[in-house]
Subunit: 216 residues, 2 copies
């Protein structure tokens, strides 16, 4: 693996564990067993590393967000939708240092702040469009105002569930985090979803076992 | 007002605006137009100010949490419940610097971390008990698992809605914040609440206008 890549992967890992604010570029170099000068040759300071990680996150999240619109427009099913939500939650969790301390991070890095506003808007737009399709095909029965509330709750879970569990002192692992996040979203949406008991059971099983049919 | 009180009020205000991490005790003294020595006479360092603010928050929140159990046990109504949620959201918002950067804050102040775990548990217990009473009197129809999910969503909104709106770049004022938080909770609970259309309309009006009947 190239040094630049190794630096990013290591920085992401340490930022996630300790918070971006508590880690210096010298510490990243030490963790990699390279000299601060070598690190500086690749990234001119921590700001550049944070910006590069945000770009990487942005690129990977946008690839997920764009996927449904590229699919052929046959009828959507709810399990596909939850698999899609699962991919987003998983991606946000992979780059969770970005959500750990959002106010300070965006104050410190204006370019990240701007990028975040666009990315959050893109994410909301994608979820809104998918919900609208479900309404059209009667998979979901809800008014536009109700769909907006679903989008808000999904966005809240996407971005803040990790902080909430941390504050409660819950030392949950990645799997539990994904499960709890998806379960909260399913709970909020379920009264509006027209789903057969058998289908619902299958979806719940898929959430519990993180075993979506797409994983095959 | 006594100097110690003035220090706490000013510190709370600056912490809320700029984040606890970005403010030194010297800056708090400057804002108050007192010498750092005078501030130090009252509070031996920023840690002591943060601990005192957390104690104040804890005391005030516990007073709200304890209120329903002290009331006579006549039937609860949903509007009272939402007024209760409103008081909690308002209190959390008043001390919002505590929620701004929870991971770093609790890493830095172990006593706050411990206090938070207990306080969040107390908050969840109170909401759980109220929901259970509603189920008993058939105001809410939900299983224990569904009530647990409601408690999770309420807790998530209580603690993290502010960070979420900030990340979206929404520059919302305190009133909008309270309104959006209560609306999200109402949305999640509504399918389980047995409520007359007239009563629902009244509750929605109360949320929009922040005009609960208790305000009289």
């Amino acid at each position: 693996m190239k040094t630049a890549q190794r630096i990013l992967i290591t920085a992401l890992d340490i930022f996630n564990q300790q918070g971006e604010n508590n880690v210096s570029s010298v510490e990243i170099a030490m963790e990699l067993d390279i000299s601060p000068g070598n690190l500086y040759y690749h990234f001119k300071g921590k700001e550049v590393i944070v910006a590069a990680l945000f770009d990487l996150y942005q690129e990977q999240l946008r690839a997920i967000l764009d996927a449904p619109s590229k699919q052929s427009d046959t009828s959507l099913n709810i399990e596909d939708f939850f698999y899609y939500l699962y991919l987003i939650i998983e991606k946000n969790h992979l780059f969770r240092f970005l959500y750990r301390n959002p106010t300070d991070l965006t104050d410190k890095y204006p370019s990240v702040a701007k990028g975040f506003i666009k990315l959050m808007a893109a994410q909301e737009r994608c979820v809104t469009e998918l919900l609208a399709k479900f309404v059209t095909q009667s998979t979901i029965t809800a008014s536009a105002a109700q769909c907006n509330q679903m989008v808000e709750i999904i966005g809240l879970v996407f971005s803040q569930a990790g902080n909430y569990y941390a504050l409660k002192g819950n030392d949950i692992n990645d799997d539990e985090y994904l499960y709890k996040s998806l379960s909260a979203i399913l709970f909020a949406l379920l009264p509006y979803i027209n789903i057969e008991p058998g289908e619902l059971h299958h979806l719940q099983e898929a959430i519990v076992n993180r075993g979506f049919s797409h994983d095959e």
